[in-house]
């Protein structure tokens, strides 16, 4: 029984933490108070639910308890300080009457979605440093603790704590508004939010083996946040595009590394390990978004990954379609990394010589200094053109730049093969 309740509290935490914090920030304007009261509510649940039973609407119950705590604290602060008027103004509905944990009122559940959206946009405000945007999103919306976030990003705990304190202080002192931005700046701010979620996802995806376990947790949270955003902003095609992109990548997660933790290339991956349900779900999300004819970088990237994910085997991959999509991506969001990927796609569709030409002109721009995948791709194309000596040289260069162990082992293996030929 107790274990069941603990499990239910954990589920409620996942479902409700972000919305409780978001509601309380909207009500009090005090980020620290919001987190404390949300925490208190879950502590109260652990104590009350085993005795009284789990309420029908756990989220609403928790929100009510948290609101009561916040109201109490604000009342206490207001006493003597004559700040009661301010409390009334800051309260969304002017309702500062204490609520019993059992009488769930509508205020506790209404406007909830809106509040989480306000919270996401405020956490990802471009006036905050990017690393703080990520940390703040994980703390307030997801409910990860400061030590958990510090661990995930491989920084000391006090550093992460300070990052969060500074960000919250800036929100207060510079008065960063707690709102969904108005229409004229919404597109650029949405792009900023998507950038944070994508960064979070990439961090987890390119995990080093040592931190793999923690990073897998981040991946789950990134997908969950993208789902939330997509539910809150159903009109935004790029939000759906990012969600589809994450789901498609994540669907192949189990096949990416072998039992030693080494990277398995796409063509060598065991496709039966791919999550076909998730691929199907992502494909539907992407198709619905693309039908609106407002393509953007995330939708195009998702379409590229979908080409891979829906091919029954590596040989059946529609490379000319992928190369065409990379052309579009290079137009929509030009970057050296996109250009490098385009070179790979073109080499698969039209032969290694065509790909090598793109890589060579990219290398000439020197826009990717220290990036191991540039010499790695170059080496691979040279290998396929049977120019072994040059290939070995670039494998060597890639090896000197590579950061993760699994990729290092992969490149070393290729170098050995090339030299043996």
């Amino acid at each position: 029984m107790t274990r069941d309740v603990e499990h239910l509290v954990a589920t409620a935490f996942q479902d409700s933490w972000g919305q409780i914090v978001a509601t309380l920030i909207g009500m009090t304007g005090d980020w620290d108070l919001a987190e404390e009261c949300a925490q208190d509510a879950f502590t109260a649940a652990l104590e009350a639910w085993p005795r009284k039973g789990v309420p029908d609407m756990p989220g609403a119950w928790l929100t009510s308890v948290a609101r009561n705590r916040a109201t109490d604290v604000l009342r206490r602060r207001a006493l003597g300080a004559a700040k009661l008027t301010e409390v009334a103004v800051n309260s969304r509905d002017g309702d500062v009457e204490p609520l019993g944990p059992d009488d769930i009122d509508e205020a506790a559940v209404s406007g909830v979605q809106d509040d989480r959206l306000r919270l996401i946009f405020t956490c990802c405000h471009p006036a905050l440093p990017l690393d703080a945007q990520v940390a703040l999103t994980l703390r307030t919306l997801v409910g990860l603790t400061t030590p958990e976030i510090a661990h995930a990003f491989l920084v000391p705990e006090p550093t992460m704590a300070q990052r969060l304190v500074r960000a919250k202080r800036k929100i207060r002192n510079a008065r960063i508004p707690y709102r969904v931005p108005p229409a004229q700046i919404l597109p650029e701010r949405t792009t900023a939010v998507l950038g944070v979620l994508y960064l979070l996802f990439n961090e987890s995806y390119s995990a080093t083996s040592g931190a793999l376990l923690v990073r897998n947790g981040l991946m789950v949270e990134a997908v969950r946040l993208a789902r939330l955003l997509s539910a809150l902003m159903p009109e935004e095609c790029e939000v759906a595009g990012l969600l589809a992109l994450m789901l498609l990548h994540d669907a192949r997660h189990d096949a990416r590394l072998d039992e030693l933790g080494d990277l398995v290339t796409l063509e060598e991956q065991d496709r039966t390990l791919w999550d076909s349900d998730q691929i199907a779900e992502a494909t539907v999300i992407l198709r619905n978004a693309m039908q609106r004819s407002r393509p953007g970088p995330y939708q195009i990237q998702a379409a590229i990954v979908a080409c891979h994910a829906t091919a029954p085997n590596a040989a059946a991959t529609d490379w000319s379609q992928i190369a065409a999509l990379y052309d579009r991506l290079a137009n929509a969001a030009p970057s050296p990394v996109v250009e490098l990927n385009r070179a790979v796609a073109v080499s698969m569709a039209h032969g290694p010589a065509a790909g090598l030409a793109i890589v060579e002109s990219l290398a000439a721009t020197q826009s990717l200094p220290g990036y191991h995948l540039l010499p790695a791709v170059r080496a691979d194309l040279l290998r396929r053109l049977h120019r072994s000596e040059e290939a070995a040289r670039y494998y060597g260069e890639a090896l000197s730049l590579v950061k993760t162990d699994s990729e290092r082992r992969f490149l070393a293996r290729r170098l050995a093969e090339t030299t043996a030929e």
């Binding site: 405000h125 006036a127 002192n173 510079a174 008065r175 960063i176 508004p177 931005p181 700046i185």
Partner: protein, 113 residues
Amino acid sequence: MRYMLMICDDESDDRGPLEIVGDTEHVAWIDYMDRQGISFLDGVRLRPSTDATKVQSRNGETLISDGPFMESKEHIGGFALIECEHLDDAIEVAARHPFAAHGVIEIRPVWDE
């Protein structure tokens, strides 16, 4: 909420205050604030950094030297003190300042207690 906008550029624009105030872009900027109900409280144009003097007091001694306190390509060329609701409003004002197109504007909230 009051914000100080520090208007910085590489001093390539060497116009004085009278010229700037008469400039159509500058007039449009002031008009924008009027339309948005944002108060323009005060503003000054500074003479260039070649006219700057640095002063420090150390152990009872006054150290005087030539030049601005920062070695930088961008120098503060003026200030504008505005009053608006929140940072996003101040950002909109800063983005529309004529110098934002070639220089950079730093927004600092006024420390009110």
